[in-house]
Every structure is written in C-alpha cells, then in structure tokens.
C-alpha cells in the first residue's frame, strides 16, 4: 500500500487518516505479513507493535483465518504465538515434491525419549534409562538438545548433580502444541497420579513404565531402536 514517506523505524500504527474498513484491512495485512515472514511463532507483543492501540488482535487473526479458509495453509497458535502451517492433508504432496522433512529428523526411539521427557519433565538421563529399561545414551540427549526440543532444567539433588531435562518452546512449536496441556492423554496420566516426582525425588515407582504404556499405548519395550534409522 503506497503511503506517504515516513522516516524508517517509525510505523504509523493508528492509521487515523484511513476510513475504518481500510484501516482494518491494513492491520490484517500487516499481521498476516509479519506471521508469514517469521520462521518462529510470532508473539502477541510483537504483533501489537504493528497495529493500533485499540485493535483487537484476536479479531484480526480471526478475520485472516476466515479469509484463508479453503487455502492449503492456515494460521495456528503454537507456543504462545502464531505461525503459518500447511494443512495436514498436504503432507504427502509436500514430501513427494521436496523429499523428506528437511528439519531435524527424529528417529522413532528418539521421539519416544522426547515424549517421555515431555510427560515427566523434569527428568534426568538416569531416570529415563531406568524408565525405558535400557541406557538412554548421551547422544540421544545431545541430538534432542541440538534439535532444540529440550533444555537443561533444574539439577537433580543426587550424586553428580545431573541436569533434569525440560522441553522448550521449540518443542511445542514443532509439534503444534500451544502448551504442555495439549499433550495427548495428559489428563489420564494426571488422574492416575503418574506425573511429577515424589518425596524421594524419584519418579513415581516401578509400575510407572507399565502404566504409561498401558495408558498411552506407547511401545516401551522397543528392542531394536536403531533399526528404523536406515
């Protein structure tokens, strides 16, 4: 939109010279453009900087979503912000054209470890190993950290003060969760009292793995974790 020359860095957010409908369209355009241009989810505070003070961002986003209905992509709210995503049904087409996902690839076993961290954070590598009944290697943790899925949280008050791992906003964004509450079946685990660490600082008991696999249908006894790497 051609606007009068303004010094760079000073954006006219109120747009008082425009009639209300045109002003709204301009705001919608700006918000959509900012979300489109950003690789990360865009936070509300950032969007608030390009629209007027009296502008309701939720309504703007709602109107943009309405316009995008029928398009193969949409605006989703993830990790406390908004982001563009292609719709689920087009995954096959994208893979056929561009090959596999170019972003951090998660092997099946790494994904399992990541989900265990997501549910039971903060959790140390030792506790993860105990949980899966096999050594969860430093490489696994390193690759999850490298992928930006997890970060070091509190240290565990045990020998060697190992870090307990927590998931990052990047994890939420990658999986399309808005918060940890969106993890599948988390309510079931909460109601079963399986989350968190108890008095002794350890996760709740030996039956945990069995119960988790029962509740979630997770294949805990995955024996050939590297088989799918090929």
């Amino acid at each position: 939109m051609a606007r009068g020359r303004k010094p760079a860095g000073e954006l006219d957010t109120e747009l008082e010279d425009l009639p209300a409908p045109a002003r709204w369209r301009e705001w919608m355009g700006r918000v959509e453009a900012v979300i489109f241009a950003s690789a990360q989810p865009v936070l509300r505070e950032d969007l608030a900087r390009v629209v007027g003070r009296g502008c309701n961002l939720d309504l703007v986003i709602e109107d943009i979503r309405d316009e995008l209905r029928g398009r193969p992509y949409e605006i989703v709210s993830v990790a406390g912000g908004w982001s563009f995503r292609t719709k689920l049904g087009f995954g096959d087409a994208i893979r056929a054209a561009l090959g596999g996902p170019t972003r951090t690839e998660l092997s099946k076993s790494n994904a399992l470890v990541l989900m265990a961290i997501a549910y039971f954070q903060p959790i140390t590598r030792g506790e993860l190993s105990q949980f899966f009944g096999r050594e969860v290697s430093r490489d696994t943790i390193a690759s999850l950290r490298g992928g930006g899925f997890i970060a070091a949280g509190p240290r565990s008050p045990t020998l060697g003060a190992p870090y307990a791992y927590v998931t990052t906003p990047g994890f939420l964004a990658q999986f399309g969760f808005e918060s940890l509450r969106d993890l599948p079946d988390i309510e079931k685990l909460e109601d079963a009292g399986l989350l968190g660490r108890g008095k002794d600082g350890a996760l709740g008991g030996d039956a945990l793995a069995a119960e988790l696999s029962e509740v979630l249908g997770l294949p805990i006894d995955e024996d050939a974790p590297e088989a799918d790497a090929a």
């Binding site: 939720d58 406390g80 949280g153 509190p154 020998l159 309510e187 109601d191 108890g198």
Partner: protein, 327 residues
C-alpha cells in the same frame, strides 16, 4: 572487628509474644450455614489482620512459606506428585533464567504474589502469567479487571474474594480451556489479591489455594473446582482455616526468629548479618544462594551448618548434599 548482634542491623523480635490463636475461632468441623462460615472467617481474619500489618522480622519467610504451601496445593491439583520439598529443590537447583519444570513454574507464580507490596500486584500477575505460560490476552485482562472491580467494591473481604475467584475462574475457563487447573491457580491468586486489597494489607498473602479443596486437593477424576451454591461457604471456611494456620505459622516462625536473634552475637563470620536477614526473608536458602557480597559459598555453608548446630535454623532436606536451610 568483632561483629555484634546489634550491628548486624537485623530487626529485633517483638517484645512480647502475642496471644495464641483462640481455640473458639478454629473451624474444626465444617460449618453448616454460610453465616457460620462467615463468622469463622471474620474471626480468623481479624487475628491475621494484626499480624499482616505488624511486619514482623520473619514476615518475609512467612509469606514465602505460605506461597510454598499454596504452590504445593496447586501442583497437587494438576495431578502431579511434587510436594513442598520437591518444589524447593526445583526452585533452588535451577540456574537463574532456566526452566524449573512444570511444578517449579507454579511455585514461581505463587512467589510472584509475595514478591512486592500488595499495590504492585499488576506487575506480579504479569510475572505469574509468564511463569505459567498464560498468554497475556483479553481473557487475562478481563480477569484482572474483574479483580479490580471486586477489590474496589464495598463487599466484606472474604465475599469479595470469593466473588473474584468465581468470576475470574469462569472467564479464564471459557476463554482459555487449555489452561486446565492453572485457571484455578490464577483465579485463587487473584482472590488473595482482592482479599489483601479489601483489608488494606501492605502485602498479599497466599491463603485460599492451600485450604479450598478438601482432602488436600488431590484431584478426583477429571473434574475441576465447581463453582456451585456452596462456593461462598467453601471460600469462607477456607479463609478461616488458612488464617488460623497462617497465624500459627507466624507464631512458630517468630519463635525461631527470636532464637536466631539470640545466637547472632556468637557469630563472627563476615557477612553474617546479611545471611541472617536473608534467612528471615525467605523460605529457604541454599549455600549457593547469593547473599550479599561479603560471604562466599563456602562461608555460607559453614555459617549455616554452625547455625544448625546452635539450633537456630533447620536443614530442610535431610540430605548430606544439596542442603537447604531455613527457619
């Protein structure tokens, strides 16, 4: 130079210990009517009112310990297993700026309530919302405005707080259904703000959350707090019990603060004054907690161990490493 107790600059204990909480005001059995509950709440809160205004030497530790209890109750409501000890660990063993995990975040949210004077609660709720990863959008704004309206209204404090809790809970639940039991946390958080505002306390106290839910608050099934016709009575009863317990806790901490004050002249360590003040101001301290500029980590550990040996403070974890100390 020998450091003397009076040169440490820590505030001295109250001259006489205040009267104990009267047994007749304790809500032992659940009252049968709203009026009975309101009477108990009024009696208990008027006792608490005196303590909340007095600014006792141990007031900081008192508020932080109430926050810890509230956080433990909130964490239990989310179905997690962390208790107060685990929350302390999450708080102390996380580097500044790092993510303390889901339970630790809830403790941060409750500590935010006690972080400033009660007039600064708007910046405190921003901290709490950030800790809980609650988007700062219209729903939160509407909840804050509801609390403001309740705080500036003319209703008696526990009723204003109950109304604030019920209304904000409804707003947050309908606008942010993914919030789950954190909507409850924020609603009870705001109710405590409203109570402090209505009673014109200098500091807000976390009270409601730890006592509102019977049986310690362990969530039974997927159900969450239901705002029904018994809501006001439940809130009044919770405030009655919370105020009684807060009075007891304050008396206990005051006793410990006096003991700490009594051994202060025996301490020769550099920076001991700052360490004693820090002990009076917080629930617990680790040796690695930054206390002033004069005392090193090793010095703090030696000082704390000496205070434990003198019976002035307690070691709170029972561990031989990663120890935490407090009144």
């Amino acid at each position: 130079m020998l450091a003397r107790a009076d040169s440490f600059g820590i505030s001295g204990p109250a001259a006489a210990s205040p009267a104990p909480f009267p047994a007749w005001a304790r809500a032992v059995d659940a009252p049968e009517t709203d009026a009975e509950a309101a009477f108990l709440a009024g009696a208990a809160l008027s006792r608490l009112d005196a303590i909340a205004r007095e600014n006792r030497p141990s007031a900081g530790a008192w508020r932080r310990r109430l926050a810890l209890a509230a956080a433990a109750a909130s964490v239990l409501r989310t179905g997690r297993a962390e208790d107060e000890a685990a929350l302390r660990d999450a708080f102390h063993l996380t580097r500044p700026g790092a993510n303390p995990g889901p339970a630790g975040r809830r403790l941060l949210a409750w500590r935010a309530l006690t972080s400033g004077s009660s007039g600064q609660w708007r910046s405190a709720i921003a901290l709490a919302a950030e800790a809980l990863e609650v988007p700062r959008d219209e729903a939160l704004q509407a909840a804050i405005e509801t609390a403001e309206a309740c705080a500036s209204g003319g209703r008696p404090a526990p009723f204003a707080a109950a109304e604030a809790a019920a209304t904000t809970l409804r707003i947050l639940r309908s606008a942010l259904p993914t919030l789950g039991s954190d909507a409850e946390l924020l609603a009870l958080w705001l109710a405590d703000v409203v109570l402090a505002q209505r009673l014109k306390w200098p500091f807000a106290l976390p009270l409601l959350a730890a006592h509102l839910f019977p049986g310690g608050g362990r969530r039974a099934g997927p159900g969450a707090a239901a705002v029904d016709e018994n809501w006001v009575r439940a809130c009044c009863l919770a405030y009655a019990r919370a105020a009684a317990q807060a009075c007891d806790l304050s008396a206990d901490l005051e006793r410990r603060a006096r003991k700490l004050h009594a051994v202060a002249p025996k301490l020769r360590a550099k920076g001991a004054g700052a360490a004693l003040q820090a002990l009076l101001d917080d629930d617990s301290l680790g040796a690695a907690t930054k206390i002033g500029t004069q005392i090193s980590e090793r010095g703090a550990r030696r000082l704390f161990d000496r205070l434990v040996a003198l019976g002035a403070i307690r070691e709170l974890t029972g561990r031989s490493t990663f120890r935490l100390y407090g009144l």
